[in-house]
Amino acid sequence: MKRNIFLIIIGIALAFWPLGGYQEGIIILTCINCIAAMGVSILTGFTGIFTLGHAAYMALGAYTTAILTVRYGVHYIPAIIAGGFMAVLIAWLIGIPTLKLTGDYYAIASIGLGEAIRLIIENWQSLTRGSRGFPGIDPYTTRFTAVIIFIMLAIFTFNMLESNIGRELKASRDDIIAASLLGFNTPRTRMKALLISAFYCGISGALLGGYMSFIQPSMFDMMKSTELTAIVVFGGLGSMSGTILGSAAITLIMEYFRDISQYRMLIYGVLLVVIMVFRPEGLMGSRELWDFLKFGGKKNNA
């Protein structure tokens, strides 16, 4: 409860603190990235399913929302929600056959699935205008919209993780056989995690479209998918506050180096390697921010 009030206060500060246009943009982008990263964190950090294709669900959300608002004049709020559910629908169709794959094999399959979805979007010219991109999206992602949606989803996420579904996901992450012998329908558990994470990514993509006013299939390639998983690992697998902090940190660092753009990707690459080499457990390990406050950082979570 305290945590949710804390999140709401942060939200109000982010939404109403007087800032210039540039800082506003950074806040919007941070919120968008955090939403997608939270989705991947639920799947990768809390259910133990590694994905390298979740940018595709962002693409599905972005294109669904863009097509609904531009072509059919739908209001942006139902369109964003539709974007989330389109990602859920496709994730469900894909998940039925592929979620039985475990370990590295699902990660590899997700590369294929992510690229396949992107290529279908790219080749479906009549609907998506192909690789030239989809321009003219109403800039509906204001700072207010982005922050509200982010804070709402963050509260939902933390609440969910502190309930029966959170324990269910963690059980199937830590030991899927033990989980099934404790009465969990583990294929369904994995599906739940995939659908929730696809929803988050879909919403994130929808907001990204509204922020950029222009979307292109190449924005949602394997690089973007890798970035999402890398952020979750950077924050600490199994730590949602770590995911949010890590996502914000990476977004800010990348923005800071925007002026020397040719070095930006180089720095990103170095960052990935350095994090993996020197702190593979990520910023937070599997602890949450308040675990440090409660137990003075002594809680043993080995």
Partner: protein, 277 residues
């Protein structure tokens, strides 16, 4: 009542179980013994649905559970512990028990599409809540979580781990981890409890405590217990009925003293020359 009828289990060409048949009556404690590789754990894996048997059938209270999946069998009231501990080591001790306790299912009935009444299970309404209760932390979430927590703490007290509730399960000493597994299995309120080498790695004192714990929970929770064990003292103390396996076949069944004097059993153990009997 649990009944195995002519169970065969083959992995590739290797027969792990060969025409295994036995009955476990309600409320009994049955010991399963046998040399390494005799197929003891395979029996548990077949009963709990980890493997589906190559041939044969398993009945629980007259119902054929052979085609069911592991989680369905579990919900019908069969819980187990593992020879190689399978705790959620990163989660707290309390969370381990709560994870199991939230899966408490109660027997119920369901009307199928033809209108006939079928036995089924449904989630315990006292601890069950939905997705949106979880998202929003509504009142049902609060009440159910409180009940879950109290029930789980009670179980932890029963196995002597109440003061360890907040510790990460992986940091417990070995003997305590074994008892935590028992608490976790009990949290499912099973009718039948399968214990796979619960005394492995314990010192004599701990084995003695375990002895009391098993007989205690057997009485208090009205359980039917199957226990695989190498400690013959434990088996002889708590199991009025013992089944002995060798090479996937049942070679003897009877009371403890009958088994100890059975020439085939002696041959099986002396033949391998590794086990203490």
């Amino acid at each position: 009542m649990l009944e195995l009828v002519n169970i065969d289990m083959a992995f590739g060409g290797v027969k792990a179980l060969d025409h295994m048949s036995f009955k476990i009556s309600d409320g009994s404690i049955t010991g399963i013994i046998g040399p390494n590789g005799a197929g003891k754990t395979t029996i548990f894996n077949v009963i709990t649905g980890v493997y589906s048997p190559t041939a044969g059938k398993i009945f629980l209270n007259g119902r054929d559970i052979t085609p069911l999946k592991a989680y369905q069998i579990n919900r019908l009231g069969i819980a187990r512990t593992f020879q190689n501990l399978r705790l959620f080591t990163r989660s707290s001790v309390l969370e381990n028990v709560m994870t199991a306790a939230q899966n408490h299912y109660i027997n119920s009935y369901r009307e199928n599409f033809l209108g006939s009444i079928q036995p089924a299970v449904k989630p315990d309404p006292k601890i069950n809540y939905g997705f949106f209760d979880a998202l929003l932390h509504l009142g049902r979430w609060r009440n159910s979580e409180r009940t879950l927590k109290l029930n789980s703490l009670e179980l932890l007290a029963r196995v002597g781990l109440a003061d360890r509730a907040d510790q990460a399960a992986g940091t417990l000493p070995y003997g305590m981890q074994r008892r935590l597994e028992i608490a976790r299995a009990l949290a499912l309120s099973p009718e039948i409890l399968l214990l796979d080498e619960p005394a492995a790695g314990m010192n004599p004192e701990e084995v003695f405590e375990l002895n009391n714990l098993i007989t205690g929970i057997h009485k208090d929770f009205k359980l039917t217990i199957l226990v695989i064990e190498h400690h013959m003292d434990l088996i002889m103390n708590i199991c009025p009925h013992v089944i002995c396996l060798n090479f996937g076949e049942k070679i003897a069944e009877g009371s403890g003293s009958e088994i100890q004097n059975n020439p085939e059993v002696l041959a099986a153990y002396l033949g391998t020359g590794e086990e203490e009997i």
